[in-house]
Symmetry: C2
């Protein structure tokens, strides 16, 4: 399928007109992928897509120009290692009428030296990031994007089931992670992360999966994801070896209620913080507020973490077609951690969950 | 072996005193690896090592704090998703006496939003990048680093020989690249790049390895590298299928002479541009100056591309212990490209080549 480049650049120009940004600068990465369907090799040589309301230009290292030429019709302003990028940047800005830009939206992921090169060429210009422009556009997924996320979620479900099937006393966290990675890899996907936090390790939300062996009485957080055909997945489920630890069921039920409350709050027109408020309210009311140390969720699209952010302060208004995680957790130091995570696509009547796996504790024999 | 953190932080403070930088800000990445021997999980949450001449502090997302705590004794100034990083950054700067910093050295690879967060907290401060501080220190390798680069280079030699052994008419560029990747992977290394440019494709220095089949009369550029035990490799050699194309031998000999001239110029006390000048001079004198479209080389260490840069303008003074590539090339559109690349470590009497492979054209039967 042809990438909808013209449509997306046109949508970007509309957002720029609406928000008052008169230059958008995008580095090789996921914003460029979304806009153009490709990005040149990213390295230390400044390479930028520059967009004004008049048109687009590329600041392009000459080394990448020929290899990239077939991918786009946008004019290249090339520079060589001997010349450096300054003159080419100036020419590119002039070509799109942005030499006097006053409000510059920078790709927040670009290297600091790229960003300060752009700002240095526009003395006195105010900067912002891409949340109001490219970010706002990327948050709402089209049918192709949703189909990609769904297929990726199905693969993650299967990988999670492979982990469940392999879990037993004596297997290490790393070995379980390898099961997930192997399942992803055998299906052509590239593993992105593989958190297996057993026993007390589960109380670190970003635990570095290690050599600890699963043992009778462990609760285990399993949070895995991979990129499949360009689309990421992200799912967290809980398993236990034999009887879960003292107090486990009560806390699992609270996290489940928090997730459901967040699902209820996630409606077109609601603000993102209301989703966080709902989950956090349930956990706080149950007396565990201090043990829910992260946001309730993050958007997911080309990037596994992207806007909208489900934080306590986000004023982002949720719209139909947005895709994001809902993943409340409670982390009890020295005891265990519990996180349950769904990826949803927001429909007119609420969130559609992409996974088909139940969120119940999966118990294996101790 | 224990990472020499204290020694390196002390060296950094000396460089700061010498250069006048009163704050260095480092994001999770290779600069942090070099200084501390680790880096926290890099994502969109601002996480920074902040160093003044008085001491160090970490701006740390609370989510990563517990998982990182065991890796360092440096004080953490944590922030949660609900709070945002501004207050913690302010506290961290104050803790190291840098709340009034006037010259800030930013890790040039950090995200734009991290960089502008730091600069926003220090209104009026001038910024620079890390070349004079961390960069200057990293350029000179210690014996452990050189040993790592040597072992990685030996593996790349073996991978190149595997490519030579597999080359034949009808095999595709991608299949040859897979031979290299497979060899690296089977030896525990992670492939970094795998440029196989056959026939006219060789004239694109950063050609995207594709489905073209090798055929009788092709010259083929093979540029491969991988990370082995944390150390990268980078080598380019030429092969031909049967008789190389018309004029090949003459151009290969010019590139070889350019490489040798650059080797002669690379001496402690010389400037990096003299290395580029030497290679470029040979190629220009031979009438091919316009076809040598890139710098002569790049440093190599934790990063496969790092300072010093062998460009026509670099004033960096070469020192014993620096490691870098010497890789002149001539790219003739529609005909063929030739690049020869060595990684060297600069010794008191000149460069030591890490590869054991000859640079002659490797001819396979057509």
């Amino acid at each position: 399928m042809t990438h909808p480049t013209a449509e997306r650049l046109s949508a970007l120009r509309s957002r720029m007109a609406a928000t008052g940004a008169d230059l958008v600068a995008i580095a090789p990465g996921s914003h460029m992928d979304w806009l153009l369907g490709f990005h040149p090799h990213p390295d230390e040589r400044p390479c930028l897509l520059l967009a004004s309301t008049e048109g687009e230009a590329f600041l392009m290292p000459v080394l990448n120009a020929e290899g990239t030429r077939a991918d786009t019709d946008i004019a290249f302003h090339t520079w060589s290692d001997a010349e450096g990028p300054e003159a080419a940047l100036k020419a590119a800005l002039k070509a799109i009428g942005a030499q006097g830009a006053r409000r510059v939206a920078l790709d927040e992921t670009m290297r600091a030296d790229f960003a300060l090169l752009v700002l240095g060429a526009l003395p006195g210009a105010a900067h912002e990031f891409t949340a109001p422009t490219v970010g706002a556009l990327r948050m709402v997924k089209d049918t192709r994007e949703v189909a990609g996320l769904k297929a990726s979620a199905a693969l993650a479900d299967a990988a999670m089931q492979a982990v469940f099937a392999a879990a037993r006393p004596g297997i290490t966290e790393i070995e379980l992670a390898e099961i997930a990675k192997g399942h992803f890899g055998a299906n052509g996907a590239k593993p992105l992360f593989w958190i297996v936090g057993s026993g007390g390790n589960g109380a670190f939300p970003h635990h570095q999966t290690g050599a600890r062996k699963l043992q009778e009485g462990d609760a285990v957080v399993v949070d895995i994801g991979a990129v499949s055909n360009g689309w990421p997945s992200d799912i967290t489920r809980m398993l236990a070896v034999g009887h879960p630890p003292e107090g486990y069921e009560e806390v699992h039920a609270i996290v489940e209620r928090a997730l459901r409350a967040a699902m209820e709050a996630a409606r077109p027109g609601a603000k993102a913080h209301e989703v966080d408020d709902a989950a956090r309210g349930v956990i706080t009311d149950a007396g565990y507020g201090e043990y829910f140390v992260h946001r309730t969720g993050h958007g997911i699209g080309i990037d596994v973490h992207e806007p909208p952010w489900m934080t306590s302060t986000s004023q982002t208004v949720l719209e139909e077609g947005m895709s994001f995680s809902i993943e409340p957790g409670i982390y009890l130091p020295g005891r265990f951690g519990i996180r349950l995570e769904e990826i949803v696509v927001l429909r007119s009547d609420g969130p559609e969950i992409l996974s088909s796996l139940p969120r119940d504790l999966h118990v294996v024999n101790g």
